[in-house]
């Protein structure tokens, strides 16, 4: 296990160094998210939305922003010919963990920007901030686990970006539905118990399933 953590740390550090210098994933995600929010705010012109609508729209933006940028860490390995170097440098478990953590940090950073900007520009006040933070953190875990496995899979394909978007949709759609239901109360729909709490439990369960499946299947995808 120590070697997995050490290898994952090396992969994480390397990805952050590269991302800091190129900003490929960050630019793609941030540009998509901010443009979408700006466009929506112009269309709706500050019109007040129902809490459920606010929750739904915010997660749709996060979901598509994730699809836009989270394939980059893996796709770039394939496109720049560094895949074999990575396979020599770290075990498949270490690569999975390193890439998962990189996506997770990126997602958390993205959500920390998207939700406040969304709330301010879309006239969608957040009434339970800590509850939204909890749902957002779980959402980041869930989406990162899914995208790590799918991105590794599509590395072998030719039209990687297109295949990633198509392959990610069915896996991430249940998570999106649960996340929208869970975060409704954060925008003022009912209380944090009841339907919202059971949706949150579903997010936790689905995240668990995705992490275990992703961890188990990854070596089969990564090793030739």
């Amino acid at each position: 296990m120590r070697s997995v953590v050490r290898g994952a740390w090396a992969v994480l550090l390397k990805d952050f160094r590269s991302e800091f210098r190129t900003r490929y994933a960050l630019s793609a995600i941030a540009l998509f998210a901010l443009t979408s929010i700006a466009a929506l705010s112009f269309v709706l012109r500050g019109q007040a939305m129902q809490p459920e609508e606010s929750a739904g729209l915010s997660w749709i933006i996060v979901f598509f922003a994730a699809v836009t940028g989270l394939a980059r860490p893996f796709v770039q390995e394939a496109e720049s010919g560094t895949e074999l170097l990575l396979r020599q440098a770290a075990t498949s478990e270490a690569v999975w963990l390193g890439k998962f953590l990189f996506s997770l940090v990126l997602m958390l950073g993205l959500e920390a920007i998207i939700f406040p900007v969304y709330s301010a520009l879309m006239n969608a006040p957040v009434v339970r901030v800590w509850y939204l933070a909890l749902v957002a953190a779980l959402g980041a875990v869930c989406l990162s686990a899914a995208t790590t496995l799918i991105a590794a899979l599509v590395c072998k394909a030719r039209a990687r970006a297109t295949v990633f978007a198509v392959a990610a949709l069915p896996v991430m759609l249940p998570a999106l539905v649960f996340l929208v239901q869970a975060s409704g109360s954060a925008f003022g729909a009912g209380d944090a118990g009841g339907e919202s709490a059971s949706a949150l439990r579903l997010v936790v369960s689905y995240s668990g399933i995705l992490i275990v499946l992703s961890w188990l299947l990854f070596p089969l995808v990564w090793e030739e």
């Binding site: 396979r87 270490a94 030739e224």
Partner: protein, 205 residues
């Protein structure tokens, strides 16, 4: 110490690239795998390095009377090949740090830079290097792992005369540490080996 290949074969879809490759290599030995373009040299060397699964046959690495498992074997081997790119947005030193840290080793980047003739350029991003310099980075990466089994695919590609001398020095040093397999079409590379295995349409001749 022994590297054994027995009945190795590899197919990509319906196309069979390699068949019935068997040989054995001991400590201090250097073997050159030669053959025309497309004869399966790179495929074979990747299988020997444990980076590609054979479709048929097996390959083993034995150290001190013990056959290594897949993970141990990969830790004991290193491959430098034209298809393996270093990270262009990292420097020479950062590439080496990543590679050795991931494998649980440490490296002396300065010493390796001197060995491959990149002294003074260790902090520059690899994207600013020429193709010959990138080839030197590949060699340094493979050496940084201090491998028991060193695999070199076209090691002198893009290199000038001084680069060729470096490859000769690397092979000489590796004789003291373990074994070396070189896949090449270059006469100079082949001259560094004790014996040659020639592949003709995926078969040893």
């Amino acid at each position: 110490m022994r590297l054994v290949a027995e009945g190795l074969g590899r197919s990509f879809g319906a196309r069979r690239v390699l068949r019935d490759v068997s040989f054995e290599l001991g400590a201090g030995e250097v073997v050159a795998i030669c053959g025309a373009n497309g004869s399966g040299k790179s495929t074979l060397i990747r299988m020997l390095a444990g980076l590609l699964m054979p479709s048929a046959g097996q390959t083993w690495l034995e150290i001190a009377g013990r056959w290594l498992g897949a993970q141990e074997r990969r830790s004991a081997s290193a491959l430098a090949a034209p298809g393996i790119q270093p990270y262009l947005h990292l420097s020479f030193t950062e590439n080496l740090q990543f590679f050795t840290q991931g494998r649980g080793q440490s490296c002396n980047a300065e010493e390796l830079a001197e060995l491959v003739g990149l002294s003074g350029r260790q902090s520059d991003l690899v994207e600013s290097y020429s193709s010959g310099m990138v080839q030197r980075v590949r060699l340094a990466l493979a050496l940084s792992a201090e491998p028991v089994a060193l695999f070199l695919d076209e090691p002198t590609q893009f290199l000038d005369a001084s680069g060729r001398d470096i490859v000769a020095e690397i092979v000489r040093r590796q004789r003291l540490r373990g074994l070396t397999v070189i896949a090449t079409n270059d006469e100079f590379d082949a001259s560094l080996a004790d014996r040659t295995l020639t592949l003709t349409t995926g078969r040893p001749t």
